[in-house]
Symmetry: C2
Subunit: 258 residues, 2 copies
């Protein structure tokens, strides 16, 4: 059996510690190729670059690992990797390890998960990893063990549905305090915005987006519950945004459809 190709990307940029820890964690499982943004791209969601041209350069940053940096978004990186570097689909795409949580509604804003989702749209099994610790100097050791275990499991599942995609969040705990791995649904939650309004030196107003996370879900089967209780959360994820429940409601209540 030929060596597996493992594409790795992230949204914190090519120099983020979390990316290096992910490369180290899984490099024994196959041939790792890194294609990541040349600068931080947090909060980019599923953005693609269409108004300006993209750059792509090889970089010598991980010993013995082919690595490239791009001026584009995380999603651009996945597209470039497939079309311009690998010239084929990798066997798996890993994104992260993100510095900070991507559970519940955060998945929608997350460049980390959007990169993984882009690979899944291409039919590539894919996992996004996020550690619930924003700090540069965060301890990634438990996250590395979880990343290894889930990557190995996914690579070794022969009958995996095409384009399987997992959103994995790891609590900021040492491995011995992590209680286990829970398979979960995405918790219903939102951000309550609070814009920080300031004045620039010319007296013109400007705003920084801030806010606080608000869970709207009391379920014990959610990623938020799992993380609050010391478990790693794994949310199987897809990109069919059809709301079949609302579809049924409208079919019953609206008479405008043909």
């Amino acid at each position: 059996m030929s060596e597996k190709i493992i594409l790795i990307t992230n949204d914190d940029g090519i120099t983020a510690p979390g990316l290096r820890y992910l490369v180290e964690a899984v490099k024994s499982l196959g041939k790792v190729v890194v294609v990541a943004p040349d600068s931080p791209q947090s909060g980019m969601g599923h953005a693609i670059t269409i108004g300006v041209p993209l750059r792509l350069y090889p970089v010598e940053i991980f010993e013995g690992i082919d690595a490239y940096q791009s001026s584009g978004t995380p999603v651009d990186c996945v597209k470039l990797a497939k079309d311009k570097i690998l010239h084929r689909a990798p066997d798996i795409c890993l994104s992260g390890i993100n510095h900070g949580a991507n559970h519940s509604i955060n998945i929608i804003y997350s460049g980390t998960m959007s990169a993984a989702m882009e690979a899944a749209i291409e039919g590539i099994p894919s996992i996004g990893f996020s550690l619930l610790d924003y700090r540069f100097e965060a301890d990634f050791s438990a996250a590395q063990q979880i990343a290894y275990r889930l990557t190995q499991q996914m690579l070794n599942t022969d009958n995996l549905p095409k384009g399987s995609l997992l959103n994995v969040n790891i609590p900021a705990l040492p491995m011995e305090q992590i209680k286990g791995i829970k398979i979960c649904r995405q918790a219903h939650a939102k951000w309550v915005e609070e814009f920080d309004e300031r004045r620039d030196p010319r007296g013109e107003k400007y705003y920084w987006l801030t806010g606080r996370f608000q869970s709207l879900d009391n379920g014990q089967d959610t990623d938020v519950w799992a993380l609050e209780n010391g478990y790693v959360s794994v949310v199987p994820t897809h990109f069919d945004l059809t709301n079949y429940q609302l579809k049924a409601f409208l079919e019953n209540h609206w008479n405008i459809f043909t």
Copy 2:
């Protein structure tokens, strides 16, 4: 009953004809407030601005209509509108009318639909409108009639589920050739990337993202089918990305869960 507040945004920018046509189409249904990006933001997906401060200025561009432009993404515009302009949730949020299709997988990349989704996350009924004609000089007259009809219908549905969200695409046809309105599911499809590789004057490589749309779905209940057959497509949409089918598969096949 007090006048309804209709928030309008888009991703083509405050000066796009499609935005003006949407304002004109629905302004008789309530008090319209426009908050839109100051420049085109197509393909921004659900990006938010966190690395640079946001600007927000009133603009006199639509007669008798409060309008603002922001340096942010479409999603930022919705957040700013609620927190800094309206100081309350609007009764409905409309996004568009987009110059170009946002059916099937395009919803994932679409700033138009991400703005509408952001409103839905806030519990606001919301519709994204897209016309299947990219041209600046496109004929929006049928799209305007469809936008009026669906907005009126949504505003008049008292028992509408909270945060209902619709992805509406309108074929590039005169009204008399449109066969009707179909409620649909999102077609399974993807883009086959083809990067256009060029050299800049210094001899350095750069890339433009191009590609062609590929439908992977033969269903007659999809948005792609509806549009190809002369119907307006309406896809009820949500932001719970949990893949319950994959969840069941993994529960049955993986023994790593606690």
